[in-house]
Amino acid sequence: MNVAKLFKPREGQLALPLALFLHLFYVVPLAVLLASSFQQAAGVPGFTLGQYGEFFQDSVNVKVLRDTVFLGIQVTIACLILGYPVAYVFANAPAAWKGILTFLILLPLLTSAVVRTFGWVVILGKQGLVNTFLQNLGLIGEPIKLLFTHHGVAIAMTQIQLPLMILPIVASLSQVDSRLSAASESLGGGAWRTFWKIIFPLTLPGVISGCLLVFAITVSSFVTPSIIGGGQVMYMPTLIYQQAVVLLNGPFAAAVSAILLAVVLLVVVGLSALGQRSRAYIR
């Protein structure tokens, strides 16, 4: 085999280095993680479901799992309600406006998550924007507690995940034939009916892939829940970190990771199947 043949794109060999790399440093580590979740203790060989039993027997852990899934659902719904109109306005905006809108949508996406979370600390803190504003209006006497609450985490996460919902919907909206809504309106369908009966169903693939991304990334994110939640509200990623790094309980952390992976995989596979069906329906 000569070198030139290696570069022939049709051969498929060019994908080999990446495939090997990902198997060695991604698939195998995940398998190792899964295997270690069946250990009694770190380094002790054998097979036991004890770690999983321990997780589900403790109501504190089950509450963490429930809170995490709940947070994921809340943030996904909030992002859909807030994000769809932005995508709609973007798709129908005159070209001159698109530049500035793109900047407004992409800058938060590309700005570091720590920085954005930090912004929410300043907004939600005791001396923060919200409390100062409400106190100046005389609506509250004492500052209200927003940091270290589930609501605080949900608000911050919604803002942070919003661009991930907007982008796929924009892509879907740009594929909708604009003559369809014109036809609907000339036949007497009002703006709302045209939207719900024509536009929204046609953009379901974008909506579904947006929901998939937002849910998966929300239940997996660590920085925002750990800073805004501040150890008082706990989610699965914070639990994994605490067990693995602070309490050095490797096998238990591995079991919690496996449970989180299972939740994410379940939702990803389910929503992808739904997305495929909605795409087939549109064609």
Partner: protein, 285 residues
């Protein structure tokens, strides 16, 4: 007759006003929510920028006055600069590796319709959706099992896994758009594969590769979940240093470094938009 006519006219005008109300209410609701969301999107970034110029000793908002004290305080904080340099090195090496591995794989994937392509695609894209914290813990367990000590190398390897989806996604998008006819024409005219790649394919997919590399660089520079497990005191990265600054004592210097990051991200973004049409890939793909 005239009464019937005026009735018809008023019925028409009331149905027209109903349509108008329908249209108006739609525009107001959609426009209103969109305006609120755009405000929400920009608010934290703006707040951090304003807070970073505060003259106060705490993170009070709105700040009582403005000064550059927190920016100048950054100069006497060597740990921060060490962490920033480490982050920059890791992101740079991870991006280079991602581009080499990712562009090669994309070439093979775009040229084939075989069944392995779908499996490869799922494998490459999966780090986007799977919990980074599980991936990080798995890698730590794996590296300690095979006896590799944590170093900048293990950190770079883990970041390649996390960042590879961006490069493959944008490069594949460019290759699909390009089609195979130009490459075939070049081969028919007697050019070798390597010559065709560097003189025909690469110049035409350059924008996709550059955009992917930019996204890979940013997501490596920003990564915490994987680095939490794979960086130690010798290889501390910037986001982790910032995370502990904010979590432990709400250091106001975090506002200044955040301000610097926001400004450099915004400038880089505008630069990349000029060079490679960043938004074209992010908004359309």
């Amino acid at each position: 007759m005239s009464i019937a006519g005026s009735n018809l006219a008023s019925a028409r005008s009331s149905s027209r006003s109903a349509t108008q109300f329908d249209r108006l209410s739609f525009n107001w609701v959609i426009g209103g929510i969109a305006a609120f969301s755009l405000l929400l999107l920009t608010l934290p970034t703006l707040i951090v920028l304003i807070a970073s110029f505060s003259s106060a000793q705490t993170l009070r908002f709105p700040p009582p006055g403005f000064s550059l004290q927190w920016y100048s305080a950054l100069f006497s904080y060597p740990e921060l600069w060490t962490a920033a340099v480490t982050s920059f090195q890791v992101a740079l090496w991870a991006t280079v590796l991602c581009v080499v591995l990712g562009v090669c794989a994309s070439l093979a994937m775009a040229g084939s319709r075989a069944r392995w392509v779908a499996a490869m695609d799922a494998l490459v894209m999966s780090p986007l959706a799977l919990p980074g914290i599980a991936v990080g813990l798995g890698m730590l367990t794996f590296f300690s099992m095979i006896g590799w000590r944590l170093s900048i190398l293990t950190l770079v390897i883990s970041h390649v896994v996390i960042c590879i989806p961006y490069v493959v996604r944008t490069t594949l998008a460019s290759l699909t758009q390009l089609g195979s006819s130009l490459r075939e024409a070049s081969t028919v005219l007697g050019a070798g594969s390597i010559y065709t790649f560097f003189h025909v394919t690469l110049p035409l997919i350059k924008q996709g590769v550059i955009t992917g590399a930019f996204m890979a660089f940013l997501s490596s520079f920003d990564n915490i979940t994987v680095s939490l497990f794979l960086s130690d005191s010798r290889t501390e990265v910037l986001p982790i240093r910032m995370w502990s600054m904010i979590e432990n004592d709400l250091d106001v210097r975090a506002a200044a470094i955040s301000g610097l990051l926001i400004l450099s991200t915004a400038l880089l973004m505008i630069f990349m938009e000029r060079v490679s049409g960043l938004s074209k890939f992010l908004v359309k793909s």
